[in-house]
Symmetry: C2
Subunit: 346 residues, 2 copies
Amino acid sequence: MFENSANRTDLSSMGEFGLIDHIAQHFTPAQASTLKGIGDDAAVIAGNDQLTVVTTDMLAEGVHFDLAYMPLKHLGYKAVTVNLSDIYAMNATPRQITISIALSNRFSLEAIEEFYVGVGLACKKYGVDLVGGDTTSSQSGLVISVTAIGTVDKDHIVYRSGAKVNDLLCVSGNLGAAYMGLQILKREKKVFQENPQIQPDLEGHDYILERQLKPEARKDTVDALQKAGVVPTAMIDISDGLSSDVLHLCKHSKVACHIYEEKLPMDQGAFDSALDFNLSPVTCMMNGGEDYELLFTISPADYDKVKEIKDVVVIGHVTEGDTQAFLVDKSGQLHEVVAQGWNALN
Amino acid sequence: MFENSANRTDLSSMGEFGLIDHIAQHFTPAQASTLKGIGDDAAVIAGNDQLTVVTTDMLAEGVHFDLAYMPLKHLGYKAVTVNLSDIYAMNATPRQITISIALSNRFSLEAIEEFYVGVGLACKKYGVDLVGGDTTSSQSGLVISVTAIGTVDKDHIVYRSGAKVNDLLCVSGNLGAAYMGLQILKREKKVFQENPQIQPDLEGHDYILERQLKPEARKDTVDALQKAGVVPTAMIDISDGLSSDVLHLCKHSKVACHIYEEKLPMDQGAFDSALDFNLSPVTCMMNGGEDYELLFTISPADYDKVKEIKDVVVIGHVTEGDTQAFLVDKSGQLHEVVAQGWNALN
C-alpha cells in the first residue's frame, strides 16, 4: 500500500550499517546538548544543572496500529509525538529521542524511509534530536520502540502525585476525537474489504482522522503554563482514556475527584460522529483514549492565570478520598468512574 | 519449557498496569541520581556536570535468541548486559535502564517474572536502576528493547573516532567463545528435535555456554583503565565480531590497523570446540561475535600502564590508511580483514 514495487530496495542488500548510515544522514543534531548523535556505541548528551526525564513506549503492529489505514509516515510521526507527550506531562522539554524498530523483510527501504520522514517531521516540529536506535529483522510484524529524553528545572518538575484537595482539574484541547477517527478508519477498512471497488469515504472527517493518525503533543500548553508562571500540582497525559488516566493521577496523589460532564470538551465533528455510530459522546470522551492531551491539577490560587490559557478548560476539582473519581452528570448525579482504558495486553 | 503450567497466571487477567506494579515492586532505585523510577509519565534523573550517554538495543525472538535453549532469566540478564557493554564502550558508567517488551499471550506471568529476575540480577551486579519501560502484546514472538543511560566526566569520554597512527590496539578477555557456545546449543537442539529421548550433552562446556547465554559487560576493564589513569584514544564493544567492529573503529578514526593472529586471545575450551566443529579458531575469533569485549586503542606512552591490567592484551597497532584492517598471520603474511559480522537484517 505504501510501496512502489518498481522502486524497491531490498533491506538485506544494504545491511544494518548501510541502513544506519542512510538514516543518519537525514538527522543532523540541533540541540546544543547533543554532543554525539547516531554513530557510536551510545549517544552523548551534555549534562547541566537541570533534571533529566526519560520515557519509553513500544508500538506493535496489529496492537497499536494497522498498516491498512496507517501510512508509515504518520506512524513515524505518531511514534515520536506519543513519547514527547509523556515528556510534556512531566512539565519538561524534550531534547533527544532514540528509535528502535524490528521489521520483517516484507518492508522495503522506501517503506522505512517513509517512516523516518515522519520521524523527521516530528523531530523538526518539536525541536528534538534523533540520537540513536537499533534496526533489526523480526519474524513477523513491525515493532517500534521509542525512548525520549527531556530536561526540566528542578522547581518545575510535575509528577502525578502532587494533587491536593480543592485543586482544580484541567484538561487541554478536547477528548474523544482520536477514538472517533479510529471508528471511521475501521468502518472504511471493512467496506473496502467487502468491496475493493468502493473508495473510502473519509470526506469531512479531516480533523478527527488527523487526531488518530497524526496526533500532536501539547508543547503549547506546557509553554503557556510556564509563561503564565503556573506549575501544575500534578499532571499526566491522556493516552489510555480520561477515565483510566484520571484514576492514575488520583492513585498517585492519594485523592479523589469530581468531573463535571457538561465541562468535558469535545470537537463538534467528533460529537456528530459519535451519534452517527450510536455511541455516547461522554463515553467516547471518558474511555476513547489516544487523545494525548494533558490532564493536570492546579492550585485554586492559579485559576485566574489558567483561565486565560487558550485550549485549557477546568473540568472538575480534587476531593478527599483515595483513587476514586466521580462523573457529575447534568442533573447533578454522581457516577463512579471505572477505568475502561485500553489494555495493551488483551 | 520455562513455565510450570500448574502455576500459570494469565497476563491479560492482570492488565498492563497490574503488571507494571508487579514489576516495579522488585526494583527499588539505588542511584542517588534516580529521583523517580517506574510509575510516572517519565523517569527523572538528576542532572550534574558530567556527560550523559544513551544507548539502545532491540532483541527479537528468532533473530537474536531462540527460547528453545535460552532460559528467560538469562535472556533478561543478557538484554541488560549487552546494553551496558555499549555504555562501557564510551568509557562511561551506566546508571539507569528502561526495558520495553512486546510479547504474545503464550507467555505467562511466571515466564515474564523469570525474565525480570534476570534483569534484576544484572541491575544489581552492575549497580544500575530500572527506571521505566513499556509492556505490550505482540502478534507473535517476543521483542525486547532496552535503553541504557550512563554518565562520564567530559575528559574521559571515548568515541570510536580517536585512534591515531601508532596507537596500540587492545582487547579485553577472549574472543570466539560465545560463538562456540551457540554452536553447541544449536547442535544439541537438533539432536533433541530428532530424538527427544536424548538428553542434551552440555557437560564440560560451562564457560563457553555462559559466554553465549549470560555474557558480562567489561565494567572491570573500564574501572582498571581509570585506576591506571589511562583514557583510550578510541573504543568500541565487540558485538558483531572483531572483523566488523575493528573496521567500524578504523572507519570512524579514518585509520587502518594490523592485527597479529598469534596475539588473538582464545579460551582453550572454545579452541577445542572449534576444532571439534571443524571450524578455524581464528575465523571464530574474527567473525564469531557476541563477545561483548572491549576493543580499544591506546597511546604507545600508556603501554606500561595497560600491560599490568588483568585480562587485556595488545593485539595490534594502528597504521596509516582508511577503514582497512589486516590480519598478520604467523608467517608474517597480511590478509585484508573483511567484515563478516552478523547482519540483523538478513
